[in-house]
């Protein structure tokens, strides 16, 4: 029997830190978003919902929102498409599965800043890995592409992002596949099922719960996306790379020139939170179904 005193004693430190430096700040964002506030230590003026109406008419905000949603949906499509493809391939009995899994997951343990630097150079127009390799194999026209020009930079960043996150969801899905009893596949093999049939009729239904949680993790990560696009943009992040998180940061702290529109920035934070929670509820509704017993 665990006594009350111990319960309080064990819960208090974590609750205090988490409450004070996580929950209270989160809740206070709603409050701050109702003010015009031009810097820490400056006077705050109550302006009601004006920050939100301003957001509604702010083209940079819409651009950031569009980029964030493009990461979520377009990026998500490729991340999960590739993660599923490689889950099937890596669990099809090929030799060296563990080594491949190690390589796929590698970007997830390396500093995002280092990865961004590496990718900036991959895309370097003259001496980067991509164009050097393309011209080496004879695709000289393609090799002239400026991958980080304003038109292309967002998609170039997204491709790199897909490379990072595919490995993450691959290991989640693979761990889920490892839990599927092997006799299901053996029975399918005896019936002469193809790889595709085994995937569609065994793997997908059995992986449902892992998939649901993976989608939620991806949504949370996509909407708060900050680090990779920010580091990818170097000193002056171009607007083509703005996500909601980056725009919030720029509005709150600025880049070379400080901006300090703290109330406005927190309103962006509130939008991020609302989108996250609405999407989580929607996805959980859509993917809910009876528990599969096996």
């Amino acid at each position: 029997m665990i006594r009350k005193r111990l319960i309080v004693l064990f819960l208090a430190p974590a609750s205090l830190i988490y409450g004070g430096l996580f929950l209270v700040p989160t809740l206070s964002t709603f409050y701050f978003s109702l003010f015009s506030w031009s810097g820490f230590g400056e006077q705050m003026t109550f302006i009601g919902l004006d920050n939100y109406t301003r957001l509604f008419n702010d083209t940079v905000f819409w651009l950031s929102l569009r980029n964030t949603l493009a990461i979520l949906f377009v990026g998500g499509f490729f991340v999960f498409g590739l993660a599923f493809l490689y889950t099937v391939l890596l669990t099809s009995g090929i030799w060296g599965k563990k080594f491949f899994r190690l390589v796929f997951f590698l970007p997830n343990v390396v500093s995002v800043v280092a990865l961004a630097g590496m990718w900036a150079y991959i895309y370097n127009p003259r001496s980067g890995l991509l164009n050097t390799t393309l011209s080496a194999v004879g695709l000289t026209d393609v090799a002239k592409t400026l991958w980080t020009s304003p038109d292309n930079i967002f998609w170039a960043m997204l491709a790199a992002l897909v490379w990072v996150f595919t490995g993450f969801f691959l290991i989640l899905l693979m761990a889920g596949v490892d839990k599927i009893p092997t006799d299901a596949y053996e029975a399918a093999d005896l019936e002469g099922a193809s790889l595709w049939q085994k995937f569609w009729f065994i793997t997908v239904p059995m992986l449902w719960d892992v998939m649901a949680i993976s989608f939620v993790i991806w949504m949370i990560n996509a909407i708060k996306m900050f680090e990779f696009p920010y580091a990818f943009g170097f000193l002056q992040v171009p607007q083509q790379l703005y996500t909601l998180g980056i725009y919030l940061y720029i509005m709150g702290f600025g880049q070379r020139d400080p901006i300090y529109q703290l109330g406005y920035a927190t309103a962006i934070g509130v939008v991020m939170l609302v989108i996250t929670f609405v999407l989580i509820v929607v996805v959980r509704r859509l993917l809910r179904r009876e528990q599969l017993e096996f």
Binding site: I2, F10, A14, F22, T29, V109, F226, A265
Partner: protein, 292 residues
């Protein structure tokens, strides 16, 4: 037992005459494409790190005429990577220790004690995993400036502890909940009080989970960069990711790509070595919470 004599032969499998490894060739091809790209990208970074500024722009995949090892010294000194490495060790080491110190007992109580509101408290902790971190930039900076802890490694550590609590408690609560209760009851019969049960019985059993949470937090906080960017300001206080970020900016500004790659190499090599040694544990940790 059925009589096998009259049984018809098993149906011939469609593709049984093709050996397994041939059928898997397309799989090998696709997997190697991805793997080769990743390895090539890293190799290209390492190769570029030992070239001269001029050569890096034109020699592509060719080996350098002369290996410029001094690029590493330049990056190390200009980027002050030694100082930043120490900062990172202090912040991450201290935070991870504190995270486990506060989260393990809390998770234990949430998983094994019975009290009203237990589920609500657990959910409140887990809720934090869904809160977008950038939302915290401004209020956290406000609180830290009130505490006079902006631009301080102590302040950053406090924030690191706070943001790691949700996922750590989530993982450990699941782990504690999965432990059998026989030993617990036996210990109570032996006359252990509730703290002794935790300390001598449950905690040792939970050690694999605690270790996993430790590794997970280590990787995550070692690479953490957004809150560090918000909280830290002076060059003395930079953590390794921030130091690398400013080094990259400086080197890109001066067009010193080899210097930049020498910096990247110095930062990623220890991580890759640690990963090669601990990858099973790391991957297990990443999947522990999501795949039950």
């Amino acid at each position: 037992m059925s009589d096998t004599v009259y049984q018809s032969p098993p149906p011939a499998r469609r593709i049984s005459r093709v050996p397994g490894w041939v059928r898997r060739l397309p799989a090998y091809f696709l997997v190697w494409m991805w793997t080769a790209f990743t390895l090539a990208a890293i190799a290209y970074v390492l190769l570029s790190a030992v070239k001269s500024k001029r050569e890096v722009l034109r020699s592509g995949w060719n080996l350098p005429q002369e290996f410029i090892w001094s690029n590493f010294a330049t990056a190390w000194n200009v980027g002050r990577l030694g100082d930043y490495f120490l900062n990172s060790v202090m912040v991450v080491g201290g935070s991870v220790f504190a995270i486990l110190l506060v989260s393990t007992p809390a998770a234990y109580v949430l998983a094994r004690a019975k009290f009203p509101g237990r589920e609500a408290v657990t959910n409140l902790f887990v809720l934090g995993m869904g809160i977008p971190i950038p939302m915290l930039f401004i209020p956290i900076f406000g609180i830290l400036s009130y505490l006079r802890m902006t631009d301080s490694l102590t302040g950053l550590s406090l924030v690191f502890i706070a943001i790691s609590i949700p996922v750590t408690i989530y993982l450990l609560t699941g782990f504690f909940a999965s432990l059998p209760s026989e030993l617990e009851s036996a210990a109570v019969l032996e006359g252990c009080n509730d703290f002794q049960v935790f300390w001598h019985v449950m905690l040792p059993m939970a050690m694999p989970g605690v270790l996993t949470a430790l590794i997970l937090n280590l990787i995550w906080l070692w690479n953490e960069y957004q809150l560090s960017l918000v909280i830290l300001n002076s060059p003395d206080n930079r953590t390794l990711p921030l130091g690398l970020y400013s080094l990259q900016n400086a080197m890109q500004y001066t067009g010193d790509w080899p210097g930049m790659f020498a910096g990247v190499t110095i930062v990623i090599i220890p991580t890759i070595i640690a990963y090669a040694l601990l990858s099973e544990k790391m991957i297990a940790g990443m999947t522990m919470g999501a795949v039950k």
